[in-house]
Symmetry: C2
């Protein structure tokens, strides 16, 4: 099923439940070069036969500039030019890096994604944000440029480890928490196995989430207002993710619970909503607390891209399904986090 | 004198004959971080007192990714955030790298330029193309993003070596050759000393050239049609520049003469126009021929960003003041260059 979304002057086409092998037919007029990681390449070698493929090392640790440098060298060796289409096949690390390499190679060549994880399918591959980490600083360099297509081939999920399914549900629960109380209620009725075992339930869930994110991005591509809400759980999440080598989903799950507690304190979020969020995350096997040294993550937090002078633009919940941006002083935030991490557990736990 | 140009949805302000020290007053609401090179910093140390400055090594050799990586590290150390304005103070290498670093740091922060060479004033700092070389491949990675201002402080030119003046006149003569027969005639009447010795003549010449380039860029920011003409002399020029460590002006001067000879052969350029171009370049002390190994530069030429399948989009002259894009097959071009470089001299010399 094909669905198109309009983002500024660009059209992003989504091919849901489509075979990877169809790509060559959909884009028969261009030279395709694939970028994937070692895991995807090894587990799906049959899909890449006789294709030009650039294989990068797997994992967030390699989402750094040297990997981009290597891709550029390989593109030169493969004689990629402005008629080349780069296709990133993998999780968020692969799609972020591929989008970035395509945006800067020859000042921009065409690109699209085949997300192979739940997280990339519902979040990372959508919205055009790309780039790499710089040391422990998440996504510190990059740009915003939309892929021209996303192709969803669910056969890639057959090899997805259980923890990667869990990882993806953090962003799904985030979408529900900030934008869709009905989706939140539906998720409460189900368990993760209801989606892993049913192609139909999964396809519906993914389409729902793609639509939530695409709609937000279409209204605010450059994150001047509503798109900021998608950062719910990410301010603290990003600060602890690389410092403690957490999966992205775990990091933002911890971040969302902390943001919900803060929402109770400064934004009158009802305690039952904060509880419901924490319980839903636990229901989908996500961690809700992480022991950290407050001082250590504080230095990372101060480099957050959402920092505005002495304030940080923090995302808080009004209620389940509704969020807002609030400017909080770094001083007030520091007090909150010092106290929060001193308690040694999520407050509502 | 302030003049503004509209490029897509952005406004680029040009402050002509304005003091560098005025920058702080013009942008008093932001944190400014300067990027410059060792030469400019040493020769104009007084201008940078008590400013935050990132100093990079001077020269095209350092227009490579590691320099960008260093700038990013320094920006982190200086706590640059989205309220920071990056100002590149230098020649084309500094402005290209600063624009690139500003475009990718935190997915884009504000930036402007203070060009300190003739070449940067009339060409490199204008038009939003930024980026770095990859090995010998010129500007292979980068993006297009407009600076929000250009400030012209001619006191920087007091320390400009003679060869850098000559370097800049290659782009001035290029503008005349492709767009402005009157400017071409005026240049024929003068010598380089007429501009180096008179502030008024120089200010006028620079404003004229800024206007030529800004007008072309405003009509075609992403180089779909008319902006391609600005690449006159650059296809061969770029191929020999890094291979033979030539100054950019020398490389494109050689490239323009070759393109004029080719224009005679395939585009009926009158011989007297080709002669006039060559003579004007020599009048401004620019080289018109370079001994090269045709095979060596051919490999670089095949990576040209203007390559379109088996053709290269080549810029040819119709007459002085008028140029066009012509698709030439790589095979035909190879024959031409093999022959041209076998002759051992510019054909019209």
């Amino acid at each position: 099923m094909k669905e198109t979304f309009r983002i500024s002057s660009k059209t992003v086409s989504c091919y849901f439940d489509e075979a990877f092998s169809q790509l060559k037919n959909l884009f028969s007029d261009v030279k395709i070069i694939y970028v994937t990681d070692e895991n995807v390449f090894r587990q799906h070698a049959d899909k890449f036969q006789s294709e030009k493929v650039i294989v990068i090392k797997a994992g967030e640790t390699f989402k750094q500039q040297p990997t981009v440098d290597n891709i550029v060298e390989r593109l030169i060796a493969l004689k990629a030019d402005r008629q080349t289409l780069l296709v990133g096949v993998g999780g968020g690390v692969v799609t972020d890096i591929t989008g970035y390499a395509a945006s800067i190679y020859m000042r921009g060549v065409r690109f699209g994604f085949v997300p192979t994880t739940i997280l990339a399918m519902v979040d990372a591959a959508i919205g055009g944000k790309n780039g790499v980490d710089v040391g422990i600083y998440k996504n510190l360099v990059g740009c915003i440029r939309q892929p021209e297509f996303l192709l969803y081939d669910y056969t890639f999920l057959q090899t997805l480890p259980k923890e990667e399914w869990i990882n993806g549900f953090a962003e799904i629960i985030k979408h529900a928490a900030i934008k869709d109380a009905d989706l939140f209620a539906a998720l409460q009725q189900n368990r993760i196995e209801d989606y892993t075992s049913s192609g139909k339930a999964l396809d519906e869930l993914i389409q729902q989430n793609v639509k939530i994110k695409m709609t937000v991005v279409a209204e605010d591509e450059f994150e001047k207002c509503d798109r900021k809400l998608l950062n719910f759980g990410h301010t603290l999440g990003h600060a602890i993710e690389n410092s403690y080598l957490l999966p992205h989903g775990s990091a933002i799950s911890v971040g969302m619970v902390a943001a919900a507690v803060l929402s109770q304190q400064v934004n009158n979020l009802p305690a039952e909503d904060a509880d419901a969020l924490q319980q839903l995350l636990q229901q989908y096997h996500l961690p809700v607390y992480q022991n950290v040294e407050a001082d250590k993550i504080w230095q990372v937090l101060l480099m957050d891209k959402k920092k505005l002078g002495d304030d940080i633009q923090f995302i808080l919940l009004d209620q389940i399904g509704k969020a807002k941006v609030m400017s909080l002083s770094t001083a007030a935030l520091k007090l909150f986090f010092d106290d929060y991490f001193k308690s040694g557990k999520a407050v509502t736990a």
